[in-house]
Subunit: 187 residues, 2 copies
Amino acid sequence: MDRRQKKTREAIFQAFSTLLEKKSYNHITVQEIIDTANIGRSTFYAHFETKYELLNAVCKELFEHIIDSAMDKTHTHGLYSNEETPQSVFCHLLQHLQENDNNIWGLLSCESSEIFLRYFKDSLNELIQTQFVNHNRKPNQDLPQEYLVNHISGSFVEMVLWWLKDKKTHTPEELYCYFRAVIEPIL
Amino acid sequence: MDRRQKKTREAIFQAFSTLLEKKSYNHITVQEIIDTANIGRSTFYAHFETKYELLNAVCKELFEHIIDSAMDKTHTHGLYSNEETPQSVFCHLLQHLQENDNNIWGLLSCESSEIFLRYFKDSLNELIQTQFVNHNRKPNQDLPQEYLVNHISGSFVEMVLWWLKDKKTHTPEELYCYFRAVIEPIL
DNA sequence: TATGTTATCTAACATCTTGTTCGATTATAT
DNA sequence: ATATAATCGAACAAGATGTTAGATAACATA
C-alpha cells in the first residue's frame, strides 16, 4: 500500500478516535473528521464512502487486533495461557480492553461503545459456537444452543458496558470471576 | 391538553413509527417526519426540540405503557398474576412485546431497537434492584449486587435482541423458560 | 535519475438538513 | 361570541453532504 494512503488512513483513524473521546458517533460530522485529520475533502471520500463505513473499518481493525493477541498462545498474560478455552479468551479480552491498545477507550468511553460492542458480540458468538462444536458438549437442560451462545456473548458485552459505566473500578480478573460465577453454573 | 396538540403529537408518533419500520433512526430526518405526519415545519419544533427528544418521548410512553400493564395485578395474562416478583414481570413483558401494542415492532424490528432496549434496561435495573431490597436477599457468592442486577437486566435485553433477530420463532413462554434456566441457578 | 502512475489538494458546486422567525389562519375552550 | 393558543407556510441563514476538475506533489520502478 502506498505510503501516502497509509498515512492518510492513519490520520483519519486518529482524528476519528480523538473526536470519539469528546462526542458520540452520531454527533461527529465528516467535516470535523476532515478538519481534525487535516486532509482534503475529496481525500476522505477517496478512502471511505460514508462515516459509517469508517466506523466499521475501525471496529474491524480493533477487534482483529484484540482477538489476535488474545488468541496468541505465546502471549504472556499469565492466566490460562496454555488452554485455548473461550474462558481464557474472555480474560485476555478484558485485559486487552484495559490496556487500551489503539486508544480503544476512545471508542468505548462514550455513547458509541454500543456500536463496537455489537461488532464484538457477533464475533464472540462465532468463537463460542466453534468452541462448543469442538468440545462436543452435550445439550444442557432444554436450552437451544444458539440461545446459550447468545446468552454468553451477550452477558460478556453487558458486563463490559457495566464496567465502562462504573468507571472501571474493578480489575479484569475480578470481572472474569464474576463472569464465571454467572456462566459456569448453567454449562 | 388541547385537542390539536394531542392530534399533532399522535401524528408525529405515528409518522415516526411508520418510518422506523422502513429505516433506522439515524437515517430518518426531521423533514421526513414532518412530511409523513403532514404537519407544518414549525409545528414539529413546537413539540420537540430535536429528533432525539422525540425518540425519548416515544421510548418513555412505550415503556410506561408496557410496565404499567405488566405490573397491573388485575391483568389477565395468566402466569404468576398474583405474585409481583420480577420473574412474573419478565413474562408479562415478553407477552406485551409480542402483542405489539402501540406498534412496538416498528421500534424493535430495526437497527434502532438498541435504543429502546437500553432505555428498557435502565428501567428494569431499578425494578430488579427494588425487588432485591424488598425481599432482603442474602448476598450470593462474592458477586456485587449491582453486577448481578446488571447481569439479569442485561440478559433479558440480550434475549429480546436475539428473539428479534430470530424472527420470533419462539413463544414468550419458551423464552421465559430459557431465561429462568440461565438466571435462577445463580440466585 | 528519469518516468509514468497515483494520491492528495483546493475550490467550487448543487442539494439537502437543520433550527428559527414571521404574520396569517384556524381550532379550541369557556 | 370571544379571547386564547396551536397550526400553517414561507422564508431564512448556517452548515453538511457528496461530487467534480485540474493542478501539484509523492510514489514505485527501472
